[in-house]
Symmetry: D3
Subunit: 228 residues, 6 copies
């Protein structure tokens, strides 16, 4: 059976290369997403609770049910320094599944942030603590602890498939998932892109047009663009 539908906690998760995951964090979600071939991006309804530098880490995944955050406490124990918790929901719900007490615990365990396809609360305290969250909503609505979900199973969060141990890169532009096996390769490609963009930026600042820089004029003419 490909996906275990029982309520389980997988404890020994192989994380993506720590060093390569750190490097990914230097580039931001847009560059990493391009470096992967324009896949792996979560939907843009996920927004950061405060603006900041890109954050990267390895995924601890959680599957929650609407109105219930019990498994967040189970997930806390699975956190290792450098992890980012990724919480998916079995149905759409904007409740506040996470607040400053859980954040205190996650931070004490070494978590670098939370990505949740649901709501979050205590955003002012989370900002003060410097604990970044990407969420679908902000809501003071609390949750109960009655239904089991799972920790460290593959989940679909905001339209993206996340396996435990995958690298997560999140910033003001969104959240991208990089499968653990290709993290070094993507970090390398991202660095190459960044270098190329740096060159282009200098030329564009000087007034060179993208039309010339990217040699688009001929292709546009062939495609039939008319200047009048």
């Amino acid at each position: 059976m490909r996906m275990n539908h029982l309520a389980i906690v997988r404890q020994n998760v192989e994380r993506a290369s720590r060093e390569a995951t750190e490097r990914l964090g230097l580039f931001g979600s847009a560059t990493v997403h391009e470096a992967m071939g324009r896949v792996g991006l979560m939907q843009p309804h996920l927004r950061p609770i405060y603006s900041g530098e890109p954050v990267s880490g390895t995924a601890v995944t959680v599957l929650l049910h609407p109105g219930d955050n019990w498994m967040m406490h189970v997930a806390a124990e699975q956190i290792q320094p450098g992890d980012i918790v990724v919480a998916a929901l079995s149905a759409e719900c904007t409740d506040g599944f996470f607040g400053d007490l859980l954040a205190t615990s996650f931070q004490a365990r070494g978590a670098r942030g939370l990505v949740i396809d649901g709501g979050v609360r205590d955003t002012r305290e989370l900002t003060r603590m410097g604990f970044p969250v990407w969420s679908k909503a902000v809501s003071a609505k609390g949750t109960i602890k009655a239904t089991l979900g799972s920790v460290n199973i593959p989940v679909v969060c905001a339209g993206a498939l996340v396996h435990p141990g995958d690298a997560i890169v999140a910033d003001d532009d969104g959240v991208v998932v990089v499968p653990a096996a290709i993290v070094p390769q993507v970090a390398k490609e991202a660095a190459a892109r960044e270098a190329r963009e740096s060159e282009k930026r200098k030329l564009l600042v000087s007034g060179v047009l993208g039309l010339d820089l990217y040699k688009m004029r001929e292709r546009l003419k062939e495609a039939g663009l008319q200047y009048i």
Copy 2:
């Protein structure tokens, strides 16, 4: 007739205890909402125009019709120091029903803020003035003054029932309504919760897990959670 459907202004509204309402403002919407038994919260589409400390006050209610803010001027006269105006709409509309001129008037009367299930404008000036607003939208679209509504009748605002004189607590996490009669009791319960949370926070910072702090391990096992 339970709800008077005429266009009326109720002038003598008994407000919730001023002192207890002030105390509620120390806790924020999430704690107050929990202290009430997880009810009374407005829907999370209401967002503050700027981030800040929790605000509390007693409700002056207004029922508006789409595209018409005439009754806001009528409401201004009913404001007493310490009030928060709560504006409900008879149908969904994102127009800017409120701007800096009305805010100047509301502030002069002693209002502490506005909660509106519609749009607001002049948000930059409102921020400079320190007049907080929780709204569904920001829109430069102005309104007319042609249709009567009512002031200080019970209204449903963003999914929550508000009676004039009820206590309102609003912050970055949302807006919660506390019926006037139970404000002292809720303030007491909120204080107790806050004290308990403070204790927990210390333990969580030190690395104690919620699983142990809340004694969840046994219950999780009984519920069938499997560690693999």
Copy 3:
């Protein structure tokens, strides 16, 4: 044929009066929208990527197709100092059509900002650069360069009709379009409104009620408002 459906770039666009367009920028979207007779406003789903003073400029228009930003490069060449680029889409799409490289180019050409009924990325860099954008979404999702659109044709952006050369006024409250021919007249009317509002503000600060200032009491009574 009223609207040319070919892929065209109109090069000689008559802009609205530069001087009057500058003056419009002093008032902000709400005042300008009122001064025009409450028309010309884009829908409130367009939001600024950062808060700031009102910006005004003359429109360079672009029609894009979903997932394709090729024409943005074509538009760059048509920018003159003082322009604002207005990008409409042929279908709803939240992809990030614009980032810091294009912004560098636009800024080098003298553009004052971008209004786009789609997504934008690199928002942190854009904020650092001081290049304001009003968009429907923020998304790290990149686009391709495969389909022709048009530059400087009339477009419908976020519900508003924009002709190339029209004046655009954008701020925290939204984006308003002023047809080029009436820019001086609207600027004059906006100045008159601003002067009138300034007078009212002083009275309202002193505690005078809008009910008296605007002489509403009689009309409210006639309309049937009851005080109880």
Copy 4:
């Protein structure tokens, strides 16, 4: 305390006049809503699962939590012939809280329909059974039975306040709530409106214009309408 926040079931609910509630069912939601003075309407996101004649009944109210339909079973016992169950949610959720088994039970108790600010499933079977439902969503997602809510307390459903025993009128145009005490009065006013509309319809069919029938020409001229 105005609203009891415990988990309670109120068993002795005084229903609106059966006879007057039946009469309301002849008119439909639009006419009843107008007859009440244009209040009492639920938000238009509630849609019928199939098209049909207007249905009327007296409200049995239920407050549910996201993902949990336990209280629906408790509500079933409180149903009397001629009732309509009105289910409100403490937070937004599209799960399928209701399906053909519950409908079988509700129908056996004499219920005439369900209004729910959440999701429903087995819509094909419900259509076959002739059990009408107005819901926010259709979803195969099932729910659990773990959290208490309440039955027959005042609830806010889709933006409207509903007390147990109120009359509900629902049809293809939406759902309207009539406070129990004014049902006879509203039924009378609705009948009067219907009679007046019948007269108007005949004239309009014959080609008489509303401009003349409602004597609008003078008012339009005074308001400044220009014919060119």
Copy 5:
């Protein structure tokens, strides 16, 4: 001044060719939209109140304000047989601006349908009458008659620019606008497309693949598609 911002009614509107407009109605919105070069389509949130054959007609345009349908009565007088009324709103609003009485009047004047970027009511009666409507919402909420708008000015409806007299084609797939001047040309191109599609349909039914019919295999290979 390009767009007259006063409250006006233009009475002498030149309609698109009646004969060519009729022919457009044979093809449906998708074919006509393609024949125009993939422009002119309204946004897909407009939905028909009942399923049916494509309808075509010439536009009588109306600009309404939120919650106010006064101008619909003014528009009725401007209807000529074969017209379709296109109602735009100055701000988003889901109120029911149109019901069976207005429909009776419109039908008596020869209107073929209504397209409205707002709400409609009495949908069951409208279906019985055979009066098709494309709307953004269905709502029993009525409107007032207090604010002037305009009739037969250019409007933006659901994202599309409509001039009075333009041809409208509407069916289950949506609503498309054809500028009056190019209606004969678009009708001709649509007929040609239809003929080509008819040929293709026969081949596809017989099992021929689009890959071969459209000779795509070479282009896919060049673009880099890999079969594994």
Copy 6:
């Protein structure tokens, strides 16, 4: 590398057991979803273009980019009798990616339906042809053929992970995905559930309450429910 990011077409896909997939089709999405342990459901924004009996089949997956349906033609060739095509998008888009010509081709290849997290057109013709589609939108907006995607790779469609060859069950309540390996086991469990429900239905029709049938009274009392 877990997910191949190139543009590929996997040709030899092992399908779920044909016989067990057929049996799943007897139960409908709600029962199958429950039988799987309440997972595997697509989001409820997917709606059928017409109402009908449950359909089941094995998945041919396609990954499309916004505004581009080129890969639908590539997918056609991979269809085997009994398949259902599942189309995911790399970003949100409501364009009409599929119409009656493609449906003719799919049907000729033996496809039983289409599930697409985007738009569809020609819905009237599709209904006449008896080709069921579950989509996010209906739109006459056509697409281009310029960008490669992939066929028969794992995709996330409307929040659910689908591997090529998985079983799909779709009906009026939604769409559920069953991993190929567990189809026989889920079909068996679904049959068992159906049998149990049939028993319950008889009892509920006779007036037995769920409270007694499911023996809930004791648990409700323990949980603290109060009858007043």
